[in-house]
Symmetry: C2
């Protein structure tokens, strides 16, 4: 249980034994504990007292399907609170192979003002100058780093977004094939990295080196059970495999919850043109890879490599959240336009959800017309260039609304909604409102529950267990889709086999619950109150077509959701 | 005690008897009570649930020197909390002559989306279309309104800043000579007015009509005592009369507390060129009026009408806060450049303190070089035009810093410091930190105390009585300078004479204390916590030349300042 601590300001790098209190933690749970222990809750998120942590989940390192995710954490410059942003790709796996329980980056930028990268391999870690990478997008950054260090590396890097302290900036990782872009996207952690003038971390480890397992037989057996369940579940063996997350377009549009023209409708007339089926058909017709694994060993393979009209890679992956926030939310029904917007965002290293929401707000302000894809692309180029307008959009939906005089801003705790309108999918609205992370569908999506999603009653009771489970999965390193199959008994056996512990079936939910309580404590100390657990006021009075729902889950339900 | 209530959305206008609980209140104290009673603390400040109040102080209407101020109030879109912004000029006086205890503006913009003005005279009040005034600056707006309604009116209006929901937008009034600009500047109340599509309120009352007084003899006697004290105090009879607030340049610069190049120094090498003496000499040499009353009857006459090189009016008035925030804070030492910046800000209707601080942040970001006055003027023109950069600056220092990637942001509760660096003048720093209004020197300036202003000890004990007194004056309608002479016994006698009450010498401070407690309660309900009562973290570690002071008043002193 060693952790690597690197101070950009002083240049001091040390390997340490993890504190006693951190034992048994990983991923999102570790992020929460770390923030409470090491980051002053009221510090400036972009100042020297904020820190970043890389924390692989508890079951990471085995190339077990959908279970190698890396959690990044710090105080969010977007929300001002706790932030954990996890991603697939190879970073978590390689950290486990390097036997790194965690990586902590701290301190201000180096005294000389220069930029650094941190290189980590079996022999140790050191800073290198990285001024030659400054100003580069992630595509060029990744190419140069792979060129320099070879293909057996993992990378966590920022683009121009993080360099410029954009509050939409994430930290981007490579997928298993060294493709971009698996991004720890939400909450602006890329800006924290940028504030420390750290362009990239390179993890080098050429051969597979899974961590030792206490009970190999049990681990193998539980793994098999889990894989079998994944193979038998239609969602993970068919739907996401064939269509990726884009499959969600039809479902969400049918429920009247797909953000359309800046959350002014929940149903998009062009939905068929940007559906999972449409993307699949176009991509396959161009010879694209529409079933692609981001992590080694994943059998769901919800990712894709989407080709443009020239049959060259346009973007990888294209996901539902982007399709909606940069598609229907902007009135755009052209898959190739969405892919181009997505690619620019990926190269800058910004969250497509947050930037998509900001673009929607900008369209409402008249910056471009809904549906005008070429103009939207031009605005995204401004985000890349760092013009005043680009910087506005690059700082997210709240700032865009404030600067451009738009009051219909779709955020909670300063973070934009994902592609589920909280008025039509109220359980997810409860998650948006109450998650310590800010609005985020991966914090507890309720859309698959067989309920009336517009009924305000009972939604908190739907959201609560979903949030606990997701916080648990996020601590294991499990992808949200792994959760379709990863039952409590499998988690129990995998964890006990891996660590020699004796947890029971309640472990997963309890892990999640404890994590959320730690996160709420950090937020409380940072100054959050019940007012921060609210869907924006305008959504409580503006009905959403076609359901005409408003957000009307009672405040009491929001305020009591995590009560013991 | 009648109040006028006007709903822009419905067009309904009514005269009402003021609620029992509002009796005995006026000005700032009434604003606080009104907000708690009528405005949901967590509402969107730019949404339909926020309201605006015009509340003359308790002693307004008599043309008694420095005692006719009008308090405007609402939930601030800049701070998210309570906001009272008072101003001189004729608005308070004319409201008193119209026997208006208060004017309340409520509702959303009218359904047709059009703009309105509210016209009030002895016969009643009505809305009129004002679309023809939209897009006009305040100079043109005032000219047209005076042209239309004659010269015996008072106006409260917004410029393009308020129309565009700039969080720096104030509400501007005429002075006694129908000159612009007395502005209820701080906290963005102009944006609240803009959100309701209300361009102006016109108060028409041609002849003097002071409210009845219960004990005329006592009122006259106390007035005389007060005027005599004003005449005998060197500050109000000489310094401010001759130099206006610009007299503060030398004092503040000497103490090392004058904001220079975005609060990176407390001493400006060009201070002599922009001192009170310099402005006076230039203005008098051009035939300017350097001793000018903004309110009828004022004998201090700290205002001025500053002429440009062409001997035409450049701006009225030019004040210390502007001279520093738009001068030394931008590295600008040319009085005429400062006057031009000031005039543009006045015409747009934005707070020169907030915009000056934002310009400083922009200069740090490299938008223009410190000292480049022509480029600064060009940026202010962008604020007028509403370009993306202009909108950024127009939304204040926090948004400017966030968008442009600057972390040295000089604000508390989102509101920029006035022209006293809190590291060098720590008592005023305590006021900035703890005032429910956000950073504001008029909430309790401590610079005249004979203490070591850089010593962290005892500063809370300096700030507390200053804050109580100022909140008391703000409830009476008294100008901060009236306070040099307006002793508790005079307040007692004036109030008892005016209303037939039996208050004692503690009345002033107690009135202020109660007001601040109400304001803090509103902020608490709006979600404020102790974290909002803090000077920015960077000022606790970045020493300020030449004193090398950091802000080091202990958090406990801030947190306990208003304890009983």
């Amino acid at each position: 249980m060693r952790l690597l601590r690197a101070n950009v300001q002083t240049g001091i790098i040390s390997y340490e034994r993890a504190p006693e209190g951190w034992k048994g933690l990983g991923g999102r749970g570790l992020v929460a504990r770390f923030l409470l222990d090491e980051v002053p809750p009221q510090c400036d998120p972009l100042g020297p007292n904020n820190k970043l942590i890389w924390a692989p989940g508890l079951l990471v390192g085995y190339m077990l399907s959908s279970l190698d995710r890396i959690s990044l954490g710090g105080k969010s410059p977007l929300t001002g609170g706790v932030k954990e942003a996890n991603a697939g790709g190879s970073t978590g796996m390689r950290m486990a192979w390097l036997r790194l329980f965690a990586l902590i980056i701290e301190g201000d930028a180096a005294e000389d003002g220069g930029w650094r990268l941190l290189f980590v391999d079996e022999d140790g870690a050191h800073f290198e100058p990285a001024d030659n990478l400054v100003g580069l997008g992630l595509e060029d950054t990744a190419l140069r780093l792979i060129d320099r260090y070879g293909g057996k590396i993992s990378i966590s890097a920022i683009g121009q977004g993080g360099e410029r302290l954009y509050r939409t900036a994430g930290i981007t990782h490579l997928d298993k094939d060294n493709n971009l872009t698996r991004i720890s996207a939400r909450g602006g952690l890329g800006a924290v990295m940028g504030s420390k003038h750290l362009k990239a971390v390179v993890f080098n480890h050429s051969k597979a080196n899974p961590p030792p397992v206490v009970d190999k037989a049990l681990f193998k057996e539980a793994s098999k059970r889990y894989i079998k369940a994944l193979q038998e579940h239609p969602q993970t063996s068919e739907v996401y495999t064939n269509y990726g997350t884009a499959a969600m377009v039809s479902l969400c549009n049918t429920l009247g919850g797909m953000p359309t023209r800046s959350f002014s409708s929940g149903s998009f007339e062009g939905a068929d043109k940007i559906s999972g089926e449409a993307f699949r058909e176009i991509n396959l017709s161009r010879g694209g890879e529409h079933t692609h694994a981001c992590m080694a060993g994943c059998i769901i393979r919800c990712s894709n490599v989407f080709l443009g009209p020239d049959n060259e890679m346009a973007v990888t992956p294209i996901e539902y959240e982007t399709i909606s926030l940069m598609g229907s939310n902007l009135g755009i029904d052209d898959p190739d336009v969405i892919a181009r917007l997505n690619r620019i965002a990926n190269d800058i290293g910004v969250d497509t959800i947050e930037v998509g929401a900001a673009l929607g707000v900008a369209a409402e302000a008249g910056v471009f017309e809904f549906g005008d894809g070429e103009r939207a692309i031009r605005v995204m180029e401004e985000v890349r260039e760092g013009t005043p307008l680009g910087r506005i959009i690059g700082n997210g939906a709240v700032i865009t609304g404030q600067v451009l005089g738009v009051t219909r801003i779709p955020t909670v705790k300063g973070q934009a909604f994902s592609a589920y309108d909280p008025r039509a999918i109220k359980g997810t609205g409860v998650t948006y409102a109450t998650s310590p992370q800010g609005a985020d569908h991966t914090a507890g999506l309720t859309i698959r529950a067989q309920v009336d999603h517009t009924d305000p009653k009972g939604q908190a009771d739907l959201s609560r267990p979903a949030q606990y489970k997701m916080a648990g999965y996020d601590s294991l390193g499990a992808c949200i889709f792994g959760g379709f199959a990863l039952a409590p008994d499998m988690v129990r056996d995998l964890i006990n086999a891996r660590y020699g512990w004796t947890v029971d079936n309640d472990y997963l939910v309890e892990l999640g619950r404890k994590t959320i309580l730690l996160e709420r404590e950090f937020n409380r100390l940072a100054g959050f109150t019940a007012k921060d657990d609210r869907i924006p006021e305008w959504m409580t009075r503006e009905p959403l077509a076609p359901t005409n729902a408003v957000f009307d889950v009672p405040d009491e339900d929001l305020d009591s959701i995590f009560d013991p």
